[in-house]
Symmetry: C2
Subunit: 244 residues, 2 copies
């Protein structure tokens, strides 16, 4: 891990290629130009190499996307926390750490992903893609574990753990993904308001016979606060798990 730190006189090759540097550059490109912005050519230009060099560290593009997604999500999610009311593992590691209720811990995880997707809209597609590729991919795994631990501490009977944790995970990913569309269109607060107005207006112009419900909630859609709505959904699911 320790590299000989030659006095920076010869600037060449301080910057050897590595999986980490490639991943970081990929995230920058994705943030700057969206999903279409990540290209092996653009990436190798940014890293001052040829396209082939990248393949020495990364197998292909989907592995690169997975690594980028994983890195951002890992940074966004709070480190998994042993729940306070767990039956086993009673000894708390660090008494000075702030202790949150399982409900609050779940909300913190949810908001962490929500915020990350708002800041990196390309995450929405990638995260749901990982989900659709199987439950063993890093992001679903991490999320499932973080949520599940708290679900256990909630007093949910063990045979419902899987169901409860899955419901939470799916809601979080879906709602956060939908919200990314706002972020994509609306960088500024003004743009956001305009976007919501447009959606609301479009909904109000729908055929009253075909879309009575959507029309009825069009105003709600315009006036809602994203985070508030998002957390309201979490609470709804938590209420469902508590309702036995």
């Amino acid at each position: 891990m320790v590299e000989r730190n030659t006095t920076r006189k010869s600037p060449r090759r301080t910057d050897a290629l590595s999986r980490e540097r490639i991943t970081a550059a990929a995230v920058e490109l994705l943030d700057a130009a969206g999903e279409g912005g990540l290209t092996f050519r653009a990436l190798s230009e940014r890293l001052a190499t040829g396209p082939g060099a990248i393949y020495w560290h990364v197998a292909n593009k989907s592995e690169l996307l997975e690594a980028a997604t994983d890195a951002v999500v890992a940074a966004a999610l709070p480190a998994p926390v042993t729940p306070v009311a767990a039956d086993e593992c009673v000894e708390l590691a660090k008494p000075e750490a702030p202790v949150r209720s399982p409900q609050d811990e779940i909300r913190a995880v949810a908001l962490g992903l929500f915020t990350a997707i708002a800041e990196h809209p390309w995450l929405a597609t990638q995260v749901t893609l990982q989900l659709s590729l199987g439950p063993a991919k890093p992001v679903p795994l991490r999320l499932f574990e973080s949520l599940g631990r708290q679900v256990g501490a909630l007093g949910v009977p063990q045979e419902s753990w899987f169901t409860a944790a899955s419901a939470l995970m799916h809601y979080i990913l879906g709602a956060a993904a939908q919200n990314a569309s706002n972020a994509r269109v609306a960088g500024s607060e003004v743009g956001r308001a305009e976007f919501l107005d447009a959606v609301s207006a479009a909904w109000e112009e729908l055929d009253p016979d075909e879309y009575p419900f959507t029309r009825a909630v069009a105003r709600q859609a315009r006036d809602h606060d994203d985070r508030e709505q998002f957390l309201a959904g979490i609470d709804l699911i938590l209420a469902g798990t508590a309702a036995r």
Copy 2:
């Protein structure tokens, strides 16, 4: 709509190109070879034309994917039904139609999409992509409307309609998408069992310190029935909406 039906003697040009024929062929390609299988070249070969011809009927590839997704989902979802317990619109159109409770109607909608995604795994990505592109796309709109109508009939207070319908929609899309991964890998029942065994085994080999919860539910993951689990999640959310 009516075409002159010349006696099939001259086989040429009975098959004029149309948006519908193109969409149908696109669905066939997607079903046969997955997302990578849909190509303007492959498509034009199947339709016995040049690639350029398709652009006369369809603006670009994403519009084509949207049309294919929309067509399959529309066929899979039961026609939106006016709920039985609605406050307005009391007159029932067809008394001989089987009347379902709002809960059952919601389950029917959910299962419709679940089955469609199981039969067309490529739908998973496309549907969640539409969701992440905004709430005005056809699929989210259709699903939201179908679910929302029943939510209203459930006795949910109006200010919670948006939250409840959204929670249901996100769960359904997420869970159905995850399930598509099973369908992708496992055409047969045998393959499916093997796949679940593999996931379960992978989960059981996770680091006990990092993934205690996921390890704990690994057996549940192997033995569960997909549809049962899926519906259990729906019922959990319904319980949450009823819990006020």
